[in-house]
Amino acid sequence: MHLPADLSYTATHEWIRREAQDAAVGLSAHAQEELRDIVFVELPKPGRAVKQGEAVAVIESVKAAFDIYAPVSGTISRVNEAVVKTPQIINQDCYGAGWLFAVAPSTPAEFSKLLSADAYAKQIEASTH
């Protein structure tokens, strides 16, 4: 199970990576494997204000629709149009080219509530029993 150590994770299977001006968000490998072939992605509009834990995007496979929740509060700074055109990218490279959107964070303290790669891995193990 691939979980890059330099990312933070949420209980709802998002990853977040702090970058220069904002933080990129995507779907973890675990969730991507559960969903299997992704066929459609609905991303939020840039400029939208979001709260931590709010459903802001949707990823669809043939048989299921999966909400993506904002890991931190802030404003949507940019979105990845490439995955809207070619959703398979998320299946192929969920931590790199398959990023979904970025948030300009408003509340730095929220980052401490996120899970480390280890903590997230433990959570996945616990829930599949």
Binding site: D37, V39, F40, E60, V62, P87, Q88
Partner: protein, 488 residues
């Protein structure tokens, strides 16, 4: 080799139907209508001969499974025999060729039928009044939710929550959301039924109603229904029953006596009207006396010997259908109820229940049934034991097609892992049930010894598993002539 599309059979100049010649002066549309209103060229429909049409659509029909040809053990769908007598009656010109705005003096027969049908549905369910307008179960649910909202408005309250068990059919929360309510899910108890403690915990001041199915989607009767109803009524909240599973209750028990305030029936389930490959259906909604004022209008009234449409209804939720509802379907259901009568209706539910329990006993020799009480008219088996061989419930469903059975409902209700929801109905013979149970046993054996055969199923149909990912990523929802073809 798959059949061509009708467009691929088109030959310029072919005609399938000749209209009678005009007996009035002919005009050129371009000369009598404004230029911008006239279509420059005829719609690009296929050009085929009558016989092309007959052969094409007859051959296509032969690619379908249907109740007339195959056993459909679909849970909560009640795929019973669709009597041909119903078709004969619905096609009578005296019913089929009526215009909805003909003067009442010209349509007394159909008005009488609609009136009597309402009375019969009241007698069967114990409810006080029915609307026959909703065109399907989901539209019935929507109507019911509109009535719940109207009731709140009358009481000058703004309750916005509907409680729905996690085992409910998807139309329940969809209808609730469409009606502007917030859905709060009730986690089912360990016995598969509504958990009273969970209900009490979530029964806040903001709850307008509980939507439940009885028997529920596991085929279990909600024993505590009267207690549940009392809890809701204590707070002047309402109980909506999804009547999709009414086939277990005909002449057995009445929702009106259970404390149910509103319910919808699915005439294309319990009352034998055909599914038509996806409709038409009908979803009449029954209510208690207290809610009658909110029913959609118009309603049929009887005055002496005459029947008439009554448009009055200041508190009515309004209209949900362009005219009076799916009358063609209502005629079929009326015919069915009159054919079966008191004893026939009761017998239908009795045999449906015996058939289901019998099939459950046989299926349990192969797969566990998690909620293992006596079931009503349907039960849910779990196929999670096959996971070890890498075989899923979906694979088994597809393999059943090879054995000549339409697959039961899979992955529903969501609360059972690798669920297979099975409802035989009363119109299936013991021999069919035995063969089906035998097929499941064979497939379970295949899953152990040659799992790829199951995973690659179906192998005997005109197509094998279809690329649904491609269908979703590159939507191709209509044919276009080759030179224009582009990906969506």
């Amino acid at each position: 080799m798959a059949d061509p599309l009708i467009f691929e059979r088109s030959v310029p100049g072919r005609r399938g139907y000749l209209l009678p010649p005009s007996d009035v002066p002919a005009s050129n549309p371009s000369e009598v209508l404004p230029a911008e209103a006239v279509r420059p060229s005829a719609p690009p429909l296929p050009e085929v001969a009558e016989f092309d049409v007959v052969r094409h659509y007859t051959r296509l029909s032969q690619l379908n499974f249907s109740v007339d040809t195959h056993f459909y053990p679909l849970g909560s769908c009640t795929m019973k025999y669709n009597p041909k007598l119903n078709e004969r009656i619905a096609a009578l010109p005296g019913f089929a060729w009526l215009h909805p705005f003909q003067p009442e003096s010209q349509v007394q027969g159909v008005l009488e039928l609609l009136y009597e049908l309402e009375q019969l549905l009241c007698a069967i369910t114990g409810m006080a009044a029915f609307t026959l307008q909703p065109a399907a179960g989901a539209q019935g649910e929507l109507t019911g939710l509109k009535i719940i909202a109207a009731y709140q408005r009358k009481k000058r309250r703004t309750r916005s929550t509907i409680l729905i068990p996690d085992s409910a059919h998807g139309t329940n929360p969809a209808s609730a959301a469409l009606s502007g309510f917030t859905v709060v899910q009730l986690k089912s108890g360990p016995d598969g039924l509504i958990d009273l403690a969970e209900l009490k915990a979530k029964l806040t001041k903001d709850v307008a109603a509980l939507m439940l199915t009885n028997p529920n989607t596991l085929g279990l009767f909600e024993r505590d229904i009267k207690t549940i109803a009392a809890l809701l009524h204590e707070r002047d909240a309402l109980v909506y029953m999804d009547g999709a599973n009414m086939n277990a209750l005909l002449g057995i028990a009445q929702p009106g006596q259970m404390g149910v305030d509103l319910l919808q029936l699915n005439l294309h389930k319990t009352f034998s009207t055909p599914h038509g490959g996806g409709g038409p259906g009908a979803g009449p909604v029954g209510v208690t006396k207290a809610l009658e004022e909110f029913l959609p209008v118009p309603r049929v009234r009887k005055a002496g010997k005459r029947f008439t449409w009554d448009e009055r209804g200041r508190s009515s939720v309004g209209r949900v259908h362009g005219f009076y509802g799916n009358v063609g379907v209502l005629v079929r259901a009326y015919t069915y109820i009159r054919t079966l009568g008191r004893d026939g209706l009761r017998r239908a539910s009795e045999v449906a229940i015996i058939n289901a329990n019998y099939l459950k006993a046989k299926v349990q020799e192969t797969f566990p049934v998690p909620f293992d009480h006596r079931c009503m008219h349907e039960f849910v088996a779990s196929l999670k034991s096959l996971k070890a061989s890498g075989v899923t419930a979906m694979d088994v469903a597809k393999r059943l097609l090879d054995y000549g059975f339409y697959a039961p409902t899979v992955y529903f209700p969501l609360i059972v892992d690798e669920a297979l929801m099975i409802e035989p109905t009363e119109t299936e013979s013991k021999e069919t049930l035995d063969r089906f149970a035998q097929a499941l046993a064979s497939i379970a054996q295949e899953a152990k010894t040659t799992p790829e055969v199951v995973r690659r199923a179906p192998q005997r149909m005109v197509v094998d598993r279809l690329d649904e990912v491609k269908a979703a990523r590159e939507p191709n929802l209509r044919w276009v002539p080759a030179r224009e073809a582009v990906h969506a």
